[in-house]
Symmetry: D2
Subunit: 361 residues, 4 copies
Amino acid sequence: MSGNTFGKLFTVTTFGESHGPALGAIVDGCPPGLPLSEADLQRDLDRRRPGTSRHTTQRREPDRVRILSGVFEGVTTGTSIGLLIENTDQRSKDYSNIKDQFRPAHADYSYHHKYGRRDYRGGGRSSARETAMRVAAGAIAKQYLAAQGISVRGYMSQLGPITIDFKSWEAVAENAFFCPDPERVPELEAYMDQLRRDQDSVGAKISVVAEGLPPGLGEPVFDRLDAELAHGLMSINAVKGVEIGDGFAAVSQRGSEHRDEMTPEGFLSNHAGGVLGGISSGQPLIAHLALKPTSSITTPGRSIDVHGDPVEVVTKGRHDPCVGIRATPIAEAMMALTLMDHLLRHRAQNAEVRVETPVLR
Amino acid sequence: MSGNTFGKLFTVTTFGESHGPALGAIVDGCPPGLPLSEADLQRDLDRRRPGTSRHTTQRREPDRVRILSGVFEGVTTGTSIGLLIENTDQRSKDYSNIKDQFRPAHADYSYHHKYGRRDYRGGGRSSARETAMRVAAGAIAKQYLAAQGISVRGYMSQLGPITIDFKSWEAVAENAFFCPDPERVPELEAYMDQLRRDQDSVGAKISVVAEGLPPGLGEPVFDRLDAELAHGLMSINAVKGVEIGDGFAAVSQRGSEHRDEMTPEGFLSNHAGGVLGGISSGQPLIAHLALKPTSSITTPGRSIDVHGDPVEVVTKGRHDPCVGIRATPIAEAMMALTLMDHLLRHRAQNAEVRVETPVLR
Amino acid sequence: MSGNTFGKLFTVTTFGESHGPALGAIVDGCPPGLPLSEADLQRDLDRRRPGTSRHTTQRREPDRVRILSGVFEGVTTGTSIGLLIENTDQRSKDYSNIKDQFRPAHADYSYHHKYGRRDYRGGGRSSARETAMRVAAGAIAKQYLAAQGISVRGYMSQLGPITIDFKSWEAVAENAFFCPDPERVPELEAYMDQLRRDQDSVGAKISVVAEGLPPGLGEPVFDRLDAELAHGLMSINAVKGVEIGDGFAAVSQRGSEHRDEMTPEGFLSNHAGGVLGGISSGQPLIAHLALKPTSSITTPGRSIDVHGDPVEVVTKGRHDPCVGIRATPIAEAMMALTLMDHLLRHRAQNAEVRVETPVLR
Amino acid sequence: MSGNTFGKLFTVTTFGESHGPALGAIVDGCPPGLPLSEADLQRDLDRRRPGTSRHTTQRREPDRVRILSGVFEGVTTGTSIGLLIENTDQRSKDYSNIKDQFRPAHADYSYHHKYGRRDYRGGGRSSARETAMRVAAGAIAKQYLAAQGISVRGYMSQLGPITIDFKSWEAVAENAFFCPDPERVPELEAYMDQLRRDQDSVGAKISVVAEGLPPGLGEPVFDRLDAELAHGLMSINAVKGVEIGDGFAAVSQRGSEHRDEMTPEGFLSNHAGGVLGGISSGQPLIAHLALKPTSSITTPGRSIDVHGDPVEVVTKGRHDPCVGIRATPIAEAMMALTLMDHLLRHRAQNAEVRVETPVLR
């Protein structure tokens, strides 16, 4: 298929440009009988919404989502679910200065070579605004997974040079950074304020965890659960790296250290991050992703225009100085979509499997 | 589709267990007119083959591949290509001791819960032996890409705690580690010898680079080139992390540092690793992958059996003390397959695009 | 993937119920640079629109389509195209009488068993209203194909017992039946008027023809052009049969009669309907489809309710006495979508193929 | 994906040319725990095998199938199943006379234009020999369906001008024509003998029936059960038409006649052929397919060569005077594969659905 669809059985197909009339998605393959309302989707959309703190873009979008099909009398019918978000804050600004220029580290140059043209208004299709539909679709997956006792939650584990240890899920919900340690928040705010004064941006690291998974999700050999999760997470704007469990730390580990031993009481460790041979083990599924610093900064940068001539580019407008700050709900959505797809795929082939062996956690 | 197929237009579907009669693959979507012989595939298969040095498993497999269709009079016809490798070294050993046990860090436990049964001989389908067909299929992609001026090459950038700087591609071909620095080889050999004495294993980091790419490969928004590459690389046995370009280092970088500025003479840096907005920029495509230490070690480990009772597991047999040593050709294959698929996908939609803008390198 | 997507490279995914707030589609994979406006889509939508003559349902829907993405400055950008049609004529009628009953020959019974529930208002997702989005998406394919010199046109070849010979394409556009012979129109009108008096419905046969095709479209062995066309046409509501070329007449033909001989001046006949070995020959692609009579008639019929108890069903409301009358634009759309998909697929793999042999027509 | 794969969850990918070293297939997505042996596949392969009567090609192929993976200790493991059939009767004949000619009604001309080259030995990939792997894969689906109480059986309903009424399934197994009426067999034999004397060929009509289906199989709106079945059946070599239930007869039927009324005792008729709204109703699934006459006849025919010059073609070699005679097992296989795929797809999404309403037959 073309590139705007994610998943094989629980599929999400999206459309929409940053400054077009609307964003939309079609969620196909949702089981019937799931209670679902627009409010269920709005919750996560509000967590991703811009302009909620001084540390993110000041673009004002209510991001009100409408469910146009697939839900009848408050529950899903099993048919495709149409979602729509109208863009309201499309400033009619003058783009003549950038329409023929390639902003460094943006998709301008690669889109231009791929398509021969592009919607240059706010990045068009390459804008992170597209991720709003991922969050809306992911909320449907989360709703279904929750009913199965599966939770998907994320947090910021590093902001620029500042590493953050996990303290509690409660803390995550109480600050604009999705920071799991309330005592570190002032430090993060101070860092961000200085960053704005420096007219610069910085990267971030996000961690996502799914708990309550049954063992057995994932398809050997190419559609492993971790492989498809890596696909989903790496497809998020600005992501440059993905780790499962110990990730790159495993490079310098010994086998006797890395292997997660098992006892009747459960696993003794979780270096693997909940995946064995590409299939869920039933332990918490743990992934980390690296987001690069925002490319749009007001510090001038060297580039070329469509004619190949040198230009100096200064990116004005309303931008997140750290795209990672709003990435947590998006990462949760991609993990939820991946799990939902694999839950259905596993069920399709293995519905009749019965196992005596107890499930370890 | 099910999980044993990779790619959307240039597809590879594989079968085969570690100790079954044969491994096989079907490569579909190869353009017609490509000169192709079994020798072209054998070259890479020999680079991956076990038993070529004392640092890898002593299993003796010639890994002779046969082309059963899709090639006529020395060139591809455009129809599906059937590949077959007969297993020759399947020792008829007694598996009764492990058939009901779950080896720690192996797929035994997750496969058992997924399918309710498994081929326990040498890991069955979960064995890395499966990767032989990836290498064979990848060699077809490499052959086509090479004719387009695109090269795909890899090397070992870290062995356990030992980091290795890139020196030359020539060096890579001259040692059993795919080490790019000939002066470090003795150090690696000493480390491996000690590792064997310790009856332990270790992880490794592999780097893969594609050069000569046209800009424009990759499909927004979910099928980004880097996302599909991450999918392919993470699907390799034992891989726990994938980075594109600077990867996790980008977390602590500033935007003014990370962004790759452009001049008429070319890009001034390549922190992005050759991908902008998920689409190739024409710069070298750079990826790094982390491989965990081999799970099969002779040091006893705690586990349970199918009844949930505690057992002590000692993995005997012939195993690589570092699976990363033979992973380079496999990583190259997955990158080649990803690029081949996207080259065709890009061509399908954008064949008529003509761009005046010069291509930067 | 799930069932609401058609095509592999040029994909159409749809949503929407008969009496929901809106219908929508996402068209993915359209080449960039194609001039496209809402008016280009509206043309075919108007040909399918209900209430344009006394011989079709009196439901009044303007079927105004909006393009929400993928088109910038009047041409396609290569990104996904979002389409939306708001439902305006959703009568708030009382469905309590049919909500628990299964109308004979409708999808009520099969949907109920599949999903355990259904949107019973006007048939919900199973209503032919869904085909409006096929026509809108098909119009995009037609626009692209037309630029390549490929036309896709259809006509009614039989209405109930009345067979109609093809006379001219001009005639097709000048009557409500898509009848290619102007002299037969009065006969058709008289038949339809009597049908309404009989409170009954009838079937129809539609023929579709594509001209100007290049030879080579279609993928052996499962994705033959005729196989995918049969898939697309059979997926239209009420279709019970599909023929390519001579179709079922070929059963009693001799090989010496059926085979289309070739001369340097061209083919001497077209019994094959433009397909050889599942691949286009360059001759006109010809398909015929059989549509069953409308299931919704006011003559009472026997059925059961959700409890399994016997009921007598009388289908009220506004229905086409012959669904075939409005099926021509839908059949054209499915043929156009199939050709568009295969044009891109062929181009992906065979872009480099050059053939000296002249193309016959 | 490319064209050599059928199905979405239960997938079959095939390779192999008529005169290549071997034919093969990979069946992916088969549930684990299914008892399966090579003998189970051989049964249907033998029904399709050439040279079993004087009315089919005299090519002698044992068509011995080997299972190379996915089956362990006599049952399926859930991993991909590799199948292989070695070609044994590849006569080393001289093809120089036809290598540059296009046989009328064959795929020679369309393959040449598509790929720029072709394996001309016995038709290469376009040969019906490819269908052997469909039958082998279909036998796996049949085995699983049978365990669910679902049978898939076919018979010849017309040979050239001779229509045959269904009498009994027992009769079908007792003659070389799959004729359901033993009293008509002598007539068929006489017709075939005369046909050979005339050095000509003829078409046939095959009917396939599945019984014991649960209601609910099929995915709206594009992947309807009947649409995917039409895809599968039309993809069989020489098929020119497909009907579901009454098919083209429905064109002249009235709604009051066609609709299948329901009573608590069951359906009163089956004009629909077991499908309502594209979803199985639980009634017998009935399809009919039209096969064109064999293109290879010894009567000379006009054609051109690769240079566009006129030639007279005489097709020598060993050919079926009626390809329809051996098509019954192939049609059964495609219906079984379609049902298997949809059984898994339905299960994936609707595993939790519980319905009180009784199932009618």
